[in-house]
Symmetry: C2
């Protein structure tokens, strides 16, 4: 093993910053009326895209529903229980994947010569890799939105093909979920988040061998 | 829509903090010799567990490979190209899921009366939900490790059943990937990370409708 000099400063986030991402952030269903500029979502994406994916395939695609009428069309394809909160959110995002992510491989993984052509013959394998890595990137996206001061309400309860028929007719992307974004009300407000559900302790979810 | 008072302060991370998570963090395959205390991984988990999952199921499980001999047994089940870097990493984690996550539902989702019993009869649905949500939680975990000052090298190139035979014999968890953790060498060091691969621009991966 090559001996490598130890770095003297290890950048890490302080507890307040980590609380914004994790311990103090709640899934939010009722937002304040403060609007969210779609350009903020662009800046979030420009951070999130740097986090790693298998073979650097980056299959996540996103539609920012800035137009209220188009959003209302999307809302007709989410489950009943998710409709009112989606209509009322300051902004909603459709998170999807591109089953044709291999077309970008010459740019994303130039050292893998011929990979685009190989994957062109394996749509099922592409689909599986796209879904796995979009779930992974959804994790990055949720924390990226929080890092930019937004609160999020992700939901998978929807008719994906129905949402596709509204927003993906031209590009062939496939819907995974909808994420509502905005600002959470003051926690003292009675309309604020529900009390927090339980979490597993380290010793329930992890082992040290 | 209920009128909710706008919050005056929106906590967000500054650019330096976001760079630790996203733009300045690289996938790392060669680490310094500085060790990683397994207790730091516990603190990371205790942050990461707060991020959302479908129905709050939290299926991610993790094994911290603190014992070098056990790690070497695991290494025999990762693909050839991943062996040397895993043996040499300061610490390695096996990320897995629990196909029996429904056993925890009375604690995790107490308002869903009878959900544990319903899911008991649907192992295939449990498996699908477990895999999706563990990929999601892997995204949180990778950023959580970075938030605590660690660098990460995740890899899916392994024989999952083989890894299971070493570390999951007693609990029935199923391996998803291995994540090497440690501290990255100084970027000026020639052993440091490879030059960065390309990323998709917002206008390639997103649309505003």
């Amino acid at each position: 093993m090559t001996e490598i000099e130890t770095r003297t400063t290890v950048p890490a986030l302080d507890q307040d910053a980590r609380a914004v991402l994790f311990s103090e952030a709640h899934t939010t269903n009722t937002f304040t009326s403060e609007p969210v500029d779609p350009d903020l979502v662009r800046r979030v994406y420009e951070d999130v895209r740097w986090a790693p994916t298998s073979m650097n395939i980056q299959p996540l695609r996103m539609t920012v529903l800035a137009d209220r009428e188009i959003r209302e069309e999307v809302v007709t394809h989410v489950w009943e229980a998710n409709r009112a909160k989606t209509s009322a959110a300051p902004l909603s995002l459709v998170v999807a994947y591109d089953p044709d992510w291999h077309e970008h491989l010459p740019h994303l993984a130039p050292h893998r010569t011929g990979a685009r052509e190989t994957f062109a013959d394996h749509p099922d394998r592409r689909e599986a890799m796209a879904r796995q890595n979009t779930w992974l990137q959804l994790g990055y996206l949720i924390l990226g939105l929080r890092a930019h001061g937004l609160h999020v309400g992700p939901m998978v309860g929807l008719d994906a093909a129905g949402v596709d028929s509204v927003v993906h007719r031209e590009n062939g992307w496939r819907t995974l979920c909808v994420v509502n974004v905005g600002h959470a009300p003051d926690p003292e407000d009675p309309a604020a988040q529900r009390p927090r559900a339980g979490r597993l302790e380290f010793d329930q979810a992890c082992q040290v061998l």
